[in-house]
Symmetry: C2
Amino acid sequence: MPNIKEVASKAGVSVATVSRVLSNKPNVRPEVRERIQQIIQDLGYRPSRIAGNMRNQSSNVVALMISDIRNPFFTAMARAIEDVANNQDMSIFLCNTDENLEKEQIYLKTLLEERVAGIILSPTRENGTAFEFLIESAIPLVTIDRRITGLDVDSVLSDNVQAAYLLTQHLIQRGYERIGAIIGLKESTTGRERGQGFQLALEDHGLKPDPRFHTYVYPQESEAELIVDEWLQSDERPDAIITGNSRLTIGVLNSIQKRGLVIPQDIALAGFDETPWMRHAASGITVISQPTYEMGKTAADLLFKRIVDPQRPSREVILKGTLIERGSTAAKLKR
Amino acid sequence: MPNIKEVASKAGVSVATVSRVLSNKPNVRPEVRERIQQIIQDLGYRPSRIAGNMRNQSSNVVALMISDIRNPFFTAMARAIEDVANNQDMSIFLCNTDENLEKEQIYLKTLLEERVAGIILSPTRENGTAFEFLIESAIPLVTIDRRITGLDVDSVLSDNVQAAYLLTQHLIQRGYERIGAIIGLKESTTGRERGQGFQLALEDHGLKPDPRFHTYVYPQESEAELIVDEWLQSDERPDAIITGNSRLTIGVLNSIQKRGLVIPQDIALAGFDETPWMRHAASGITVISQPTYEMGKTAADLLFKRIVDPQRPSREVILKGTLIERGSTAAKLKR
DNA sequence: TTGAAAGCGCTAACAA
DNA sequence: TTGTTAGCGCTTTCAA
């Protein structure tokens, strides 16, 4: 790959002049400009952004760190963030943490070494101490979906307590009384807050939470499937289940299908996260729909604003999910 | 953020010595090494990879370019590629092309300017001329899912003709005779080849393809929904539909649901791409399951091999999908 | 309008 | 074992 020096010598000018042409500076004689552009064409020359960024102490890369891109919740966000970044001629690094604090820490250090312009992070833990080095580095940071407590950073969240409350209350109002919950890890703010909303709704409606049926798991299909397999063997099995994301919902469906049970007659089901297939599974699955694309877009907007103005006061944007009622939570038949 | 010079002066040594410590070179006195490490700690110093790469004319970034990360087919691949890259201490750029040739070209040029170490590309078009500049740049390239005709590059493909043939034949054997097909854009090799497999199966079994029911569309839900909306109004509507990916399958489901039809009694359905919810929609949806994670892993492996040895002969790996039969293609009831 | 040269942060060849 | 220095490819200041 040719460099700017080669272009300059071929054109019989200095590298400075070529650089001026590259960045469309006005003070270049038109015929010289044209000659240089022709040579750039012929050589297939592409200026190195790495070198330019190095010189200017800038970067056109931002990073997105999430637990797993295969969770549709994050997929939509990733897409939104890429859209915004692309508009700004920025590229994005995709990083999966698998809810693994160590992996997350290693990745964050790599990102610092890569001198990325900013990071959008869905943190595995809410404990701020693990992220202090990040703050000290002064790299623009936005957390998404989850919070880091005690850290003054921009974040985009959804109202998890309320959403879980809504979901649980909905089931209670439809006549369900033994509601199980399978929620993401308690170490994340989402997990903890959803657990709270669930508990609160039970208590407010005079139901006693049964700790056996309130679990926090690594949020993937197999985990939920295992748990529900066990629940369904119990004599006092739940008459309804809520889940913390669509992957957990799948796990529950798998288990219910295995046992040959029917939703909602045998057991009701409702969960977090709308996906295009929710209306087609069982008799349609009731969900909390979170504005995922919008969350991603908001986070990216916040990040780019902070990159431009690192001093601006930080902001916490909380978006609300909406309940979509479907057949999986039809009113319970009294026996 | 401090630089190597600052570390050196604080430690009272030259930058060379610090550099030696950073890259674990042996020839540094242990006490000096320790002192330097301590200072690196205290300062929170992180060496700039940008600078290092610039000096060494290397890069630890590879790019993944696909049409849309929201297609689960690509999501799984992306995850696989990130896993492999992460093992090699490489980061990945995520680029969505939206099947848009222009967007793809712009992105590719950006990637050249970013001096990425390699590109994994699912090309929007199979016409090689649009990619000649890429080949000339000599940047390691692997195409995934789709081919670029006439270009000597590594690629990882699935056997689309056979898969579409299998799917169509399966429907025919179950007694369906008026089979519609909604497939991705014909400009991509996947679209064209799947169309071929479909046609071939019809012909081999003595059925006459009806051009009205054989369409190529932008592969997203709404497109399929619109088309099926129209088909279902026709007197001679298809008795079965095959789709080119899971997003199209959703579109078909939406349309069928709207009309209140039942699968497979009123109309059968089968499509490309297994997802966790296929067993739960309708009475389970028959699919061709493609080994997406493995395709991604294979592509990444090929790419890294080529980065190490640019001269190695190129290779085309073709993986086969498997048919998973479910209720959506139960034998047709004779009337 | 143009060019020479410094310098971004690092590595490695060479010298001491 | 350690230091000096050139140079990766660019941009920008300063001078001409």
